[in-house]
Symmetry: C2
Subunit: 417 residues, 2 copies
Amino acid sequence: MQQTFASIITIGDELLIGQVIDTNSAFIAQQLNSIGISIKHRLAVGDAWDDIWQALDEESKHASIILITGGLGPTSDDITKPLLCEYFGGKLVIDEGALQNVKAIFKRLDRPMIERNLKQAEVPDVCTVIPNQRGTAPGMWFEKNGVIYISMPGVPHEMKGMIENYVLVHLQKDRQLPSIIHKTLLTAGVGESFLADLIQTWEEALPQHIKLAYLPNYGMVRLRLSATGAEKGTLEEEVSAEFDKLQLLVKDYLVTDEDEPMEKVVAKLLLARNETMATAESCTGGYIAHLITQMAGSSAYYNGSVVSYSYDAKEDLLGVSHNLLVEKGAVSEEVVKQMVTGALARLKTTYAVAVSGIMGPGGDTEGKPVGTVWVAVGNHENVMTQRFHFRFDRRRNIELTATNALNLLRKFILSVA
Amino acid sequence: MQQTFASIITIGDELLIGQVIDTNSAFIAQQLNSIGISIKHRLAVGDAWDDIWQALDEESKHASIILITGGLGPTSDDITKPLLCEYFGGKLVIDEGALQNVKAIFKRLDRPMIERNLKQAEVPDVCTVIPNQRGTAPGMWFEKNGVIYISMPGVPHEMKGMIENYVLVHLQKDRQLPSIIHKTLLTAGVGESFLADLIQTWEEALPQHIKLAYLPNYGMVRLRLSATGAEKGTLEEEVSAEFDKLQLLVKDYLVTDEDEPMEKVVAKLLLARNETMATAESCTGGYIAHLITQMAGSSAYYNGSVVSYSYDAKEDLLGVSHNLLVEKGAVSEEVVKQMVTGALARLKTTYAVAVSGIMGPGGDTEGKPVGTVWVAVGNHENVMTQRFHFRFDRRRNIELTATNALNLLRKFILSVA
């Protein structure tokens, strides 16, 4: 069965000057993959008539489905709609459904509606309207020479609604699509070169239609198997068989056999054991708490965090000894141990994790270099500590501290019978 | 003066299946803009020989500089280096500098080096090597028919080092580049349609070479002026003059005249007044603390946060009354007020901000719908509250709560003489 290819075109100068990070494309790609459509290109172009026009011409040579986001707003820099209207040789007309939608939204928000808002309901008469249940700009579906063009707003929430409620269903209609399978596992504590040598024999014997990818991320490596095929059942079996072999080969470093972040791995462990955790964060400043609480349902195993950015907060909220802070400094094994004890007591949990470090760029006080981090994890019986030294920028150091602290907690939990 | 255009090609299947979000392109775009180079396209392609080859052919028609990231690792799915070698008609040779670098890195990490690692030091003999001070894979600089091709690793930290230490300097050599100026302001509390009407007369009179862009983000709109020109001084003056007019027109909604997030606006206010803040977070789960502490130097005005995800934590760490929690529920005006009072007392700051809400998807308890949020901000004299209702997904609701809470704090601070 032939693969069906789509290209994603994102429109907006903000993407070309680096003012905005494109998260839309990743979502669209995942969703299309899930129904068997592969992505050929992701292309970002500016708010320039000729560039957009040319991108439509070009991408239609590479893919039979073109998804376009952005440029549908009510202001002068939004040129996607008139351009598509001309590209497909239509004329702009008011769409009654879209008009009712705009009116309903303004009524709900109790805001006055101006001419500019009403224009949002105009669409080329050569398109099928994709309803927007979350905003005023309608989506548009065009077909020309066997290629489908789908135009959606750049607002992530509105685009997602259209993909989930309309686009996926309509792309599957009257169309035989293959299955695409991805299976990903996560390893920790081993470099990608070493892993590659470890699995080389197996990798070289992989069937041609199963692809292996390495996704290294500073000491953690994700390995992904991908395959496309006509028969979902057979494909699933083939990939699973290889995935099982791979897991066995890397078992000493395996963190999870799912494509999930470390906080999810810890969450599943805690849920399975009906246990709870707390955090006491200095240098990560709430980032570990954020990773955990952005997952729905986290209140079942997470009680909270003390973000103790000052000495006072460490003493008052976590009961760290003033003398210890002065003697050893905030970034020390002794202090993170007391932070764990304090968090366990104050937040009444099974486990606690504490971090204190120097994230940079400045702050290399106490004779400790920037990037020094102390992590402690423990329960009411034991505390385990580890010292790290990260050499990246502040943001990256915070991320690495968080992931490694959660990994240490994972190991600690597993070590408890 | 003619504009110089660059295209960014990112290589990797992970980008096309939506497993990884591309943050590299935004960084590269910002950096190139800063030296006067405009970005024409950002294109993501998979780990497929023909697709990469074709992308090089295509983009060299649109731009005179092609920046390529990804596919330089030591594993079998990394095909960028052999491909570039063939594309530019070279052969792979060991680069002595790159070899010493690989050896030095392994020595520092005290890890055994394998054959695969040594191969990292191979480069096509038709390129100039770009030193990698942060990793093992060297970057490569090619020139062909007047087009420059720059290949860098996909690891953000390594790529950034090459851009900052090598690429920017060498792109400016022997080349007259124009100036590119962007000026951005942030408004809050007004929709983009309304704004557009408000500034329409001014916008229509804008000189042709100054472009206006609207970047709406749920109730906050960034307005950006962009211009490219030969004379930096003149351009700066022209754009500034228009930017001043714009600021005056939107003054009732103006949050800041810089391209900076809300947490930065609050930080600058606090620093200027030599005051401090704390946070007490329920539904945002540490995200506000993270926004603040990811900025270097935040310990000067930020003491910490209590992330009180459980009733117990609200009572024990913030002193919220048990009866109040039972009577009014955690998501209530009374509770967030007590959270502010508790945070002020425990974290000893000038101001505190507290949030409590239901972020979804589940949790519409207490007769309050998902998306309901109470925010309180205050100092030791006064507390101000506001109720919000966000209708998005969990992640987006968290982000919106954080930004709006910080905006409320900003207004409160400004209201204090």
